[in-house]
Symmetry: C2
Subunit: 353 residues, 2 copies
């Protein structure tokens, strides 16, 4: 008898982007914020006492939920905190999707979704994006789905494209199960789907402190949904998903909105610059509403080779060997200096190739 | 259509012990170490840089695994780190137990196990402890089980009793699935089952930094098993289960063995003192090999009422309204001062009642 379930034995795990130990690498592969978190975060970390380390933390990250509720203009009981946004995804899969149930998601999108579906031994309903030049559109079947769970990243990863609220509203209204709107990158976009949570009991927003608030090292995410849906998710969560230091750091970060918004403006400015420069070099890319761009490499350059050559030049970007992505690179928008180094290297490498 | 699975809808979530905000409470209800973590932990926390917060942490907590491997005399690839020991339990359930599969555990034991079984829609095989006075023994059917997963807490919670290695060896050798030995409290016991991991490919030890190392606030646990079994668990784990600060804190804590062992000695000394004092007041309790005692309240005192009265006196202990436990209190061994306060209060309350 195998020691694990057949579906686990058959599946491959998710492979995250590389996290090199070498800090001299120009790291544009996993969409971290290129700017450090608010100085208030380090102050909060320094204030931690031995007594806070010794005792169990707040089971529901109360201080963070109160701070975030104020920022979003909602009640704290509409917020559920998790050990990174990925843990929220795992909770939603566990609560909503059983053996043989259907789970729907777009492709290309977050490549963790099929892995989570395989863990639950669920049936995947793959919705291919309609890609017309640099225009990414939902396929029409998204408005008449039968499934337990539908996942939409908005702005999407890895394309950076954005769906409009009225479209999302129609999808949520017509869908019989839970819709998870993954807003990990929403801080770099013009609008959130937050208003839809008030109207629909079957939607949950995913938020992350990793990108917008420069806290990828702390693992802190949260969900926003109506309390009746969160009550079910509470049953499948860990007793203490967030540790005392993560709660303190995330609370300090979300409270300093002015600092975070300053980093978003700088990133959006650099995004426009990098996008224009890439286009002038022959790359094709949709307008990005995120902190990365998905750039199609100009023929005859091979995207996989270009990734390797950038890596040899100490610049890490992301290459996905997945349907629809093999001719593209996903590049995180870095600081002005990092972006200049990237663009200089690309100019040399694409001309040489 | 309900938004969540039928088994989730039907189940109740796990209810952890209270975590009062008021720091004047004498907190003997969730088995924290009464002593702060090693001073090296706070030093490590203070040394954290903004850059470490900004970047994703090590996906596999490499520095901790190397330090723990040295302490245990094993190879780092036999260690898997998780966001608290509870996350390891969730991983093992997800990997080993599907819809309708059988999962076996003792009763009374850790009351999270039936909750995790319900999440997986699994069939519970409940093994009642044979309790003879203060002697707790495994039922004979434990040696001839058919199930996918068997969970044994050793030393057991909430009894504090200990099973011997030859007994565990026989159980593991005869069991067809995975045996999880939950050693969350092993630092207060004379021996670990670590030698059994070398001999058996179907066993995984659970370790926690919460109790022995005074780091309940940080959420850090780990599993020890042969690499072939861990390879399967890696598929169902989060990409970055442990944050940068938790890795730094846990590494500092496990490296300072002399400090941790000093707290274990003090706790064992106090455990003997508290046990003797409780017995002299008419409580009945098995010898504990853990950092708590399970005390049967002398008739005609009602355990639930005594719990409430202690709470009114600002002392929190744990009362479980569960089969076999309604006449007992589980009391964490505290500092000498805390234990004196507890014993003084109990003397008054049991005499008054």
């Amino acid at each position: 008898m195998p020691l694990v379930r057949e579906n686990i034995l058959q599946m491959a795990g998710y492979v995250p982007g590389e996290q090199p130990g070498d800090s001299s690498v120009i790291k544009l592969n996993t969409n971290e914020n290129p700017y450090p978190p608010s100085p208030r975060v380090l102050e909060a970390v320094q204030r931690i006492t031995a007594e806070q380390l010794r005792r169990y933390p707040s089971p529901d990250a109360r201080t963070f939920r109160e701070a975030a509720a104020q920022v979003h203009g909602i009640s704290p009981d509409m917020i559920l905190c998790t050990n990174g946004g990925d843990e929220l995804l795992a909770l939603v899969f566990r609560a909503c999707v059983g053996d043989g149930d259907h789970v729907a998601f777009l492709e290309p999108s977050y490549s963790l979704y099929p892995v989570l579906a395989a863990m639950q031994d669920a049936e995947k309903v793959i919705l291919p994006y309609r890609i017309n030049g640099t225009h990414w559109e939902f396929p029409p079947e998204i408005f008449k789905l039968a499934a337990k769970l539908l996942l939409i990243v908005n702005p999407n990863a890895p394309s950076g494209t954005l769906a409009e609220l009225p479209t999302l509203d129609r999808i949520i209204a017509s869908f019989p199960g839970v819709v998870l709107l993954d807003e990990a990158y929403v801080d770099f976009a013009p609008a959130s789907a937050l208003p839809l949570v008030r109207e629909h009991g079957n939607v949950i927003l995913l938020r992350s402190m990793s990108k917008g608030y420069g806290l990828a090292g702390m693992r802190f995410g949260y969900g926003i949904a109506q309390p009746s849906l969160l009550a079910q998710l509470h049953k499948v969560r860990d007793s203490y998903p967030c540790d005392a230091l993560a709660i303190a750091a995330a609370t300090a970060a979300i409270t300093d909105q002015a600092y975070a918004a300053g980093t978003w403006e700088k990133i959006k400015h650099q995004r426009a610059h990098v996008s224009a420069a890439l286009r002038s070099m022959g790359f094709t890319l949709p307008d990005s509403y995120s902190n990365f761009v998905l750039a199609q490499v100009p023929a005859p350059v091979n995207a996989g080779e270009l990734y390797q050559r950038l890596k040899a030049a100490n610049i890490l970007v992301r290459y996905f060997n997945l349907p629809g992505l093999t001719d593209k690179l996903r590049i995180t928008v870095g600081t002005a200096e990092q972006n200049t180094a990237l663009l200089t290297a690309l100019k040399t490498l694409t001309t040489a190739a």
